[in-house]
């Protein structure tokens, strides 16, 4: 299993290669990408904080559970940290298995679990402020300016 929390760019080709298996008929890849807007606000960039060692541990546990639950051949989960520009990939998941239905189910299940359980946080930076987004799909609260950090 390829599991990684890293400040470096995520490479889908690496994740696909990591889940290759002669018994796999289907590979599903999910990329979480930085969008230029959220809940009606224009986003300039994101900054991801993480507890890297624990995040990798939780990602490894979830990948193992997905393998069991969906009969996967292989599974890769990578999360990026630090400053990410619009269009860059923050989350990269790849799963391989015999048939397509399980590949979609497993990928979707993994994204949902990762968003619930992995200790990673995003800060949205707008033209006129910034906020840590805490909790899935929360709007965030206006925070103290960055100079206070």
């Amino acid at each position: 299993m390829l599991i990684r929390v890293t400040p470096d760019e995520l490479n889908p080709g690496e994740a696909i290669a990591a889940v290759a298996s002669p018994a796999a008929g289907a590979i599903n890849v999910f990329l979480g990408v930085v969008r230029d807007n959220n809940l009606g606000r224009k986003v300039q960039y994101l900054e991801y904080d993480a507890y890297p060692s624990m995040a990798e541990k939780v990602m490894r546990e979830l990948a193992g559970e997905a393998k069991e639950r969906f009969g996967l051949e292989e599974c890769a989960v990578l999360h990026r940290t630090g400053r990410l520009e619009i269009g860059e990939t923050s989350l990269l998941i790849a799963v391989s298995c015999g048939h397509r239905a399980e590949s979609f189910e497993a990928g979707h299940w993994l994204v949902n679990e990762i968003k619930k359980k992995v200790p990673v946080w995003k800060k949205e930076v707008w033209e006129d402020g910034e906020a840590w987004i805490e909790g899935p799909e929360s709007l965030g609260m206006q925070q103290a300016p960055a100079t206070m950090r």
Partner: protein
């Protein structure tokens, strides 16, 4: 003790060393952090906790030398 995201920003630090006391629980240690950083008090209801990279409950005992983390609601992905 590790702090992240808004909690780290508001405390102005990501890492604290706290002396271990016999019978320490996660909640007891968190309360000592709040004494030092009262501005974090309103985050308590949303916090989760970890001991040595495992999610833990407020009532769990903290062994000497353990790393406790305050985990705000996560927002990865």
């Amino acid at each position: 003790m590790l702090l992240f995201a808004s909690v780290a920003d508001r405390a102005g630090t990501r890492r604290l060393e706290l002396p271990h006391r016999d019978g320490d629980t996660v909640g007891a240690i968190r309360d000592r952090v709040i004494e030092r950083f009262p501005q974090l008090a309103d985050a308590i209801p949303t916090l989760m906790y970890a001991i040595d990279e495992e999610y833990a409950r407020e009532t769990d005992a903290v062994p000497a030398g353990a790393t406790v983390a305050l985990i705000p609601p996560v927002s990865g992905g």
